[in-house]
Symmetry: C2
Subunit: 456 residues, 2 copies
C-alpha cells in the first residue's frame, strides 16, 4: 500500500529533491550564505507539508538547524532523524559534465552537488515520513534535526544539542549520510573514522623574492613545506608523528578475517580509479586502510605563482590543508595537539610555522546487537531481499560520537548511497533506485523498531 | 651641458615613464594582450620622438620587437641597446601598498610593476639617446631592440635575431636589466646564471575522491608531489638529480677569496628579509649560493581545495612550477633533460607524472678586459665618483648567451637598479636617483666607447 503510494508519487518526490538541489547551499563559502538560509526554509516547508508539528528554523551561532516533530503518543518510542541540508563546495566546476546546481536526471541517476550527500539521503526521510503520515501508519514518535553546517564541522550543533536535551530526547538517532556496498549488497555502517583537520602556513622571507637574486640563499617556503609534509610518512607509509598510533585499537586476527569476507575486488577498484598501483600503510589491505587504520592526507596545497606561464618567484609563504582520519580510540584533540607539536618541531629555523586547527570529529563504533540495528537490518532484508552486511567505513560523521556523549543515544546509520555517487567530487550523483529504496525501507525500520521496542 | 638638460627635463622624463608604467604589459597573462601591444606602440613613439630612424614594430610569433636606429656614420662603431617593455605578473595584488599599474612617486622612488624591471631601466636609454641627440653629441651609431617577451622566456627573440643578423650588426650590446650593489657602491654585472624551468603534474586517481572513503588506500598526488620535491635536495641542501653538478665550473680558492671582498652584511641581509637563519648549500656562503652555485626552487605549487574552510578531498592532480638556476657550463637543455628523467624515475607506480619544460636560458660570464667593460667602468666612475665593482649575479638574462652565439657580440650589463627595488615582488620600485643617474651615465659610456674604439 505504501509501496503503491511511492510509485504514484515518485515523480513529484524527485522533482522536489531537484528543487532543493538547485539551491547552492555551500556552507564553506560565505558567498552562498543566502542560499544556505533559503535551503533551511525549503526543508522546514517540506517538513510542515508532510505533517510535522512545531517546525522551527532554530537560530544558532552559524547556520540554522531545522527542527520538526510528530508525537503520536509520549508512551511510544521516539526516533530522532538527523541529516544536513548544506553541501560541499562544487569546485573545480570545469570538471562537471553539467553545472553542479542545475540537477539533471540521466542514466537513472540524479546529478548535482548534494544529490547524495546529504540532500538526497536526508530528503528520503522527509518523504518516508509523508508516506507514513498519509497512511496513518506512523508507528512511533519522530523528531527531525536537519543542520546546515555538517560540511564545515557542525560547529554549532553541539551547543544546540546541549541546550535542547529535553526536546531532543529519543530512543535512537537515525542517519542516512553513509553508503552501502552495492545495490545488490546492502550494508549498514557500524564504524566511522574520526577527523582532525589543520591548516598550516610556512613563512620564509618577509616578501616574495626573485629566485635569481635569492634562489639558493634563503629558505623557499614551498620546498620546506614539501619536505615537512614528505617527512610525515615513513618508508612503510606509516605516519611519523610521535605517539600518533598510541591509542589506536588494533583489531584481532579474527576481526580482520571477518572483515576480509566483505566482497572487494582490487582489480576493479584500481580500474575504476585508473590506478596502476594502490598505495598505503604496509601490512594492511585496502579495505583495512580505509576503515580500521588512521591516515594523513593533504587536501589542498598552494603557494607562489600558479597562473599561466612562468614566474621566477620565491614566495614569502606556502600553505596546506591537512586532514587525519582517526580510528578508535584516537581523539581529534589529542591528534591535533600531537600534529601541531610535531610540525612546529620539525620546522627548520629558516622558516616560521603556523598551525591552525579546523574542526575535528571523534571516531565511533556503533553496536550491532541493539534493537535499532536489528530493526534496520530486517528492513533492508525485506526491501532488498538480502541481509545487509555490517561494515566499518572510512568517512567521518563526528556528530555520532557527540550524540552519544551528550544525549546518551546510539545512532543507526542507514545509508543508501553508493561509492559511485562521487560525493565531494565533480559529477556527484544519487541513483533513483537508491532514493526510492530508501523511502521504502525507512518506514519498515520505524515499524520494526516500534514493534521490537514494545516486546522488550 | 647634458647634465643641465637632464635637470631641466627630469620631471618630464619621469612623467613619461609613469605613463608607460600605467600600461599593464604582463606578457605571461593573455588577458593583458592589448596592453602589451599598446606598450610596444608607446616605446616606438618615444624612440621616434627622440630622433631614431627606421622605427618599426616588428611582428614576431608572439609579442612584437620594437626596433629603431640612428646611424651617424657607418665607419663609426655601433652600440645595440637591448631592453624589454613587458613586465612580470603583479599578483598577489593585495600585498601592494598602491595598485601596481597606478604608479606613485614617494620617498624619491617610483612604485609600480616594471618601475625598475625593465621599463625604468630601458627608458633610461631612450632618454639618454634624446639627450645626446639634443646636444648633437651622439658619438657613434646606435640601434635599439626592445622586446616584449623577456618575462616569458624571449621565445621569439632568437628567430628575430637569426633573421635580422645584418640589421643588428654592432660592436657591443648594451643592457640595463640588472642591479648594482648600492647607490654608493656601483657595480657592473659580469656573470649571470642560466635557467631551466619546468612545470610538473602528478596524477593519482582519475577523479577527486572523498578522503574518508579513500584516504590511506590510494596515492594522494599532493603527498607524492611533496615527497618527490623534498627528495630533490639532500641533507646538505645539494641537488640530488644525477649528473646535475657534472658540468659546473668550480671556482678556485683565489677566485672565491676575491668574491668574498665584495661588501656583504649577513645580519643586515637576514634582518631585511626577517629571517632567523639563511638556508642553502653546505660549504658555500650566501653570496656564492646566489651567484656561482646552481639552485632548484619551487616557484609555485597547487592542488586540491584551496578555498576558505575545510574540504576533505583527495585531488586527482597536483602541480608545481620548478626552476633551476644554472652556472657555467651547465646548459638548460642538459639540465631540463636530467630533471625530467630523474623526476619520472622517482615517481612511484601509484601515480602518473608529466614534466612540461618552459623556457630556459644559458648561463653567461662577460669579459672584463674588453673596451666595452672599460668604457662602462669609466662612465660609472665619472658619475658616481667611485670605480664600479665587477659582480656575478644570480639572475638570468638568457638572451646574453644567445646574442653571443648568434651575433658574435658581447654584452655589457650596465644596471642601475637596487636589490631594494623588489623586482618580481609586490611594491616594485625604482629610485629617481637611479633613473637619472642612468640617463647621465649612459652618454658617457657612448663617448668612452667611441673614443676607445678609435684608438684601437
Amino acid at each position: 500500500m505504501m509501496k503503491n503510494y511511492i510509485s504514484e508519487n515518485q515523480d513529484r518526490f524527485i522533482q522536489e529533491l531537484l528543487d532543493m538541489l538547485r539551491i547552492p547551499s555551500v556552507s564553506a563559502d560565505p558567498k552562498f550564505k543566502n542560499d544556505v538560509l533559503r535551503t533551511a526554509d525549503f526543508v522546514a516547508g517540506k517538513l510542515t507539508e508532510a505533517g510535522a508539528d512545531k517546525v522551527e528554523i532554530c537560530v544558532t551561532g552559524g547556520y540554522p538547524i531545522v527542527y520538526g516533530e510528530k508525537i503520536v503518543d509520549p508512551q511510544l518510542p521516539t526516533v530522532l532523524v538527523y541529516g544536513h541540508y548544506d553541501v560541499q563546495p562544487a569546485d573545480p566546476y570545469e570538471l562537471w559534465d553539467s553545472p553542479p546546481f542545475e540537477p539533471v536526471v540521466k542514466h537513472e541517476k540524479i546529478y548535482a552537488r548534494g544529490a547524495s550527500d546529504d540532500k538526497g539521503q536526508m530528503y528520503m526521510h522527509v518523504k518516508a515520513f509523508e508516506v507514513m503520515m498519509q497512511h496513518n501508519a506512523l508507528p512511533c514518535n519522530v523528531k527531525f534535526m536537519i543542520e546546515g553546517e555538517e560540511e564545515v564541522g557542525s560547529d554549532n550543533l553541539g551547543t544546540f544539542v546541549k541546550e535542547n536535551k529535553d526536546r531532543l530526547q529519543a530512543d535512537v538517532i537515525l542517519i542516512s549520510d553513509t553508503g552501502m556496498l552495492a545495490n545488490d549488497v546492502p550494508s549498514i555502517t557500524t564504524g566511522l573514522r574520526g577527523l582532525s583537520y589543520v591548516e598550516v602556513e610556512v613563512t620564509g622571507p618577509n616578501r616574495d623574492l626573485h629566485s635569481g637574486m635569492y634562489g639558493g640563499a634563503v629558505a623557499n617556503p614551498i620546498n620546506i613545506l614539501c619536505r615537512m609534509i614528505a617527512s610525515l610518512h615513513d618508508e612503510h607509509n606509516r605516519i611519523t608523528i610521535p605517539g600518533f598510533y598510541d591509542n589506536v585499537v588494533e583489531l584481532s586476527k579474527e576481526e580482520r578475517e571477518e572483515m576480509a569476507r566483505a566482497p572487494f575486488d582490487l582489480e576493479k577498484y584500481k580500474k575504476a580509479l585508473d590506478l596502476q598501483e594502490v598505495h598505503g600503510e604496509e601490512g594492511y589491505v585496502t579495505m583495512e586502510r580505509t576503515s580500521i587504520r588512521p591516515t594523513l592526507d593533504v587536501n589542498g596545497i598552494w603557494g607562489g605563482y600558479t597562473g599561466e606561464g612562468a614566474k621566477t618567484v620565491i614566495p614569502s609563504k606556502a600553505f596546506a590543508k591537512i586532514s587525519m582520519r582517526l580510528v578508535p580510540n584516537q581523539s581529534p584533540e589529542e591528534i591535533t595537539e600531537k600534529f601541531t607539536q610535531h610540525f612546529e618541531r620539525i620546522a627548520p629555523k629558516s622558516v616560521k610555522v603556523l598551525v591552525k586547527p579546523h574542526h575535528g570529529g571523534e571516531p565511533v563504533v556503533t553496536p550491532t546487537n541493539s534493537i535499532a540495528y536489528q530493526a534496520a537490518a530486517m528492513a533492508y532484508e525485506e526491501t532488498f531481499g538480502i541481509k545487509p552486511v555490517p561494515v566499518r567505513s572510512g568517512g567521518s560523521i563526528p556528530i555520532v560520537a557527540m550524540f552519544k556523549s551528550e544525549l546518551g543515544i546510539d545512532s543507526v546509520l542507514m545509508g543508501f548511497g553508493l561509492d559511485a555517487d562521487a560525493i565531494h567530487s565533480p559529477n556527484e550523483s544519487f541513483g533513483i533506485f537508491n532514493f526510492l529504496k530508501g523511502i521504502e525501507t525507512i518506514p519498515l525500520f520505524f515499524r520494526n523498531f516500534a514493534e521490537m521496542s514494545k516486546k522488550r
